[in-house]
């Protein structure tokens, strides 16, 4: 296997959880809900995926458990912000703090225990294609799913009636309500979808990326996923670009260290966060782009008139 292939493979692995979490959050935000709890849902997905893979010996059940726990966790957020109309920013933070605490509590028994790896699925024939085969057809199921998810979300948002409803709820909840659309139901489903994606993204970290449990192992990836949605100006295809860009930054950091450059490792570790700020600045400078795509009701609570 060539060096380029090896590097690209690690980039793919680093980008997959970002892509999945960001796509989930994109759908949530398109419905007008800002869920800052991505980090908390991801870490809950990571620990529940890891735990259930060990309990059952089957990493697929682990991944499924992570999705379910992600949904359950997001329901907490949905109940507060949608049914009780609490402040979305503060509630999202609460979700993150709670997730970090609960996962630490649950994960204490798993520290230092080797996990169960989600083995790659080798697609017959296609995986024999030089270069491309190794990259695209010898991956784990979550990678394949992330690509399907990308097309699925694009198709759903822009080609289906349900997607249109979701976007209209996000753009003007009062108008959508007047038209007889159920704002509450739409938003609940969108938040749950986001939770499922964050949970799965977390499971990718603990079942593929590193097959062990480390406290706070998400290390801010949930927040980077949130930034990716802004970077992508709420468009799924641009999320793909962003996720792979950030995956590459994270990996470049490792390779720069390996090549022996005399840069302190801490500076390199800070690179993804610095890159996030730079990218946010560049994107937000383009007011027209952001204004045009930001869901107008984003972050605003909804209490029906009548």
């Amino acid at each position: 296997m060539g060096l380029v292939e090896a590097i690209l493979l690690t980039v793919f692995t680093a980008a997959t959880p970002l892509l999945i979490a960001a796509l989930g959050e994109l759908v949530t935000e398109r419905s007008g809900v800002l869920n800052l709890g991505v980090e908390g849902m991801m870490i809950m997905g990571a620990i529940s995926g890891f735990a259930f893979a060990i309990y059952t010996g089957n990493p697929y059940i682990g991944a499924l458990a992570a999705i379910i726990v992600g949904i359950l966790f997001s329901l907490l957020f949905a109940f507060l912000t949608i049914s009780l109309v609490t402040n979305q920013v503060a509630t999202g933070l609460a979700l993150t703090i709670l997730g970090l605490g609960l996962s630490g509590l649950w994960g204490e028994a798993f520290v230092g225990i080797p996990g169960v790896k989600l083995e790659p699925i080798i697609v017959p024939f296609l995986s024999d294609i030089p270069f491309i085969g190794k990259l695209f057809f010898q991956q784990d199921i979550i990678f394949y799913f992330s690509i399907i998810l990308l097309f699925g979300v694009s198709w759903f948002l822009f080609k289906t009636r349900a997607g249109l409803i979701l976007r209209s709820v996000g753009d003007s909840h009062s108008s959508a309500h007047s038209l007889g659309l159920s704002v509450v139901k739409t938003r609940y489903l969108a938040v749950m979808f986001g939770g499922a994606c964050s949970g799965l993204a977390g499971a990718h970290l603990s079942l593929v990326y590193t097959t062990q449990w480390i406290e706070n192992m998400t290390a801010g990836r949930g927040w980077i996923a949130l930034a990716l949605v802004v970077f992508a100006s709420w468009r799924p295809n641009r999320v793909l670009i962003g996720a792979y860009l950030f995956g590459a930054v994270g990996i470049a950091q490792l390779h720069i260290q390996a090549l022996g450059f005399k840069i302190p490792t801490q500076f390199l570790s800070a690179l993804p966060y610095i890159a996030t700020i730079l990218v946010l600045v560049i994107i937000s400078q383009n007011r027209r782009l952001t204004m045009m795509n930001t869901p107008s009701s984003l972050g605003k609570g909804f209490v029906p008139d009548r």
Binding site: V85, A90, L98, H173, G180, Y273, F302
Partner: protein, 370 residues
Amino acid sequence: MQPDFSIRLEKRGSASTLFAYFSPFIALGLMLFFGGILFAIMGHNPLHALYVYFLEPLMDTWSLHELAIKASPLILIATGLCLCFRSGNWNIGAEGQLIMGGIAGAALPVFFPTYTSFSILPLMLIFGILGGMAWAFIPAFLKNRFGTNEILTSLMLVYIAGHFLDWIVRGPFRNPQGFNFPGSISFSEWQVLPEMLSSGRMHYGMLFAIIGVLVVWFLLSKTMKGFEIQVIGQAPRAGRFAGFSPKGTTIFVFLVSGAFAGLAGIAEVSGAIQQLRPSISPGYGFIAIIVAFLGRLNPLGIFAAGIVLALSFLGGEAVQISLNVTDKIANVFQGLLLFFVLACDTLIHHKISFGHSWRFYNKGATHGAR
């Protein structure tokens, strides 16, 4: 047709004063109840565990001093944050501002170890304040100049500050006689924030917290600037008509909260730890957000809330020692508490009715997120 989501909110004509006072207590009660359930699931006697967590630390002088040491940064940071939140600016990077304050203040004793006179401590505090302000200025500037979302930038700056601290205590600030352990030299007499009372470790950080509370209380309730902050937060349009500057306010509140967080950072480094280490805070900057909300964004309420959340840290250490439960449980209690506080706050502005009946909601209006 409405779907089967059977919780109905009806906006109250005016905020309920009853719930405004009681909602934090209801939230605390709920947190204790669910915390008890959690302990029971983990196989502990819930009443005993809650006793060990929340009451035992209040029983002796030593732990009361520890409580004050943990409460002072929380109170100080949260009073600064309440200005931000009241004006609609989401500074969630106080943790980073605290770290930078600690680093900036510690630079003096590290580079001038022989400079020991009464003047060094005030200088260290000023450096700490400036360090916190500088770090807080970045998200405020980016928000004003480019419209960049301050939630994400201030948070990213926490991670950057954390890595910077890790580098500095292993690199330029490392104690040459420290046997390669990460950490600066231990501060000497004049460089340490002294104890306030002879009975224990509590340092003057508590006094700073009290002053901070009073200053912000005065600012909010007695000055034009405080009024401006609240108008811009609650009714930005009205604020613009009145000629208030949203951008100026953003800079102002970020600088004040950065200054407070920076002061809390250097007070922690100089008073409690007395050297710079790879980790100088167990997340005070994040937990202060809970303090601000539990205190209902009111400086006096924040004082009480700071003590409650300090107790959540102390109790976490207590159950770790006597019940062998990881101190991560503190995060669980803190997260639960914020959930309940937010949920109970809904009661202040809304009547809640359950079931499908339509008659409960004949009036009310769509409104923004508080």
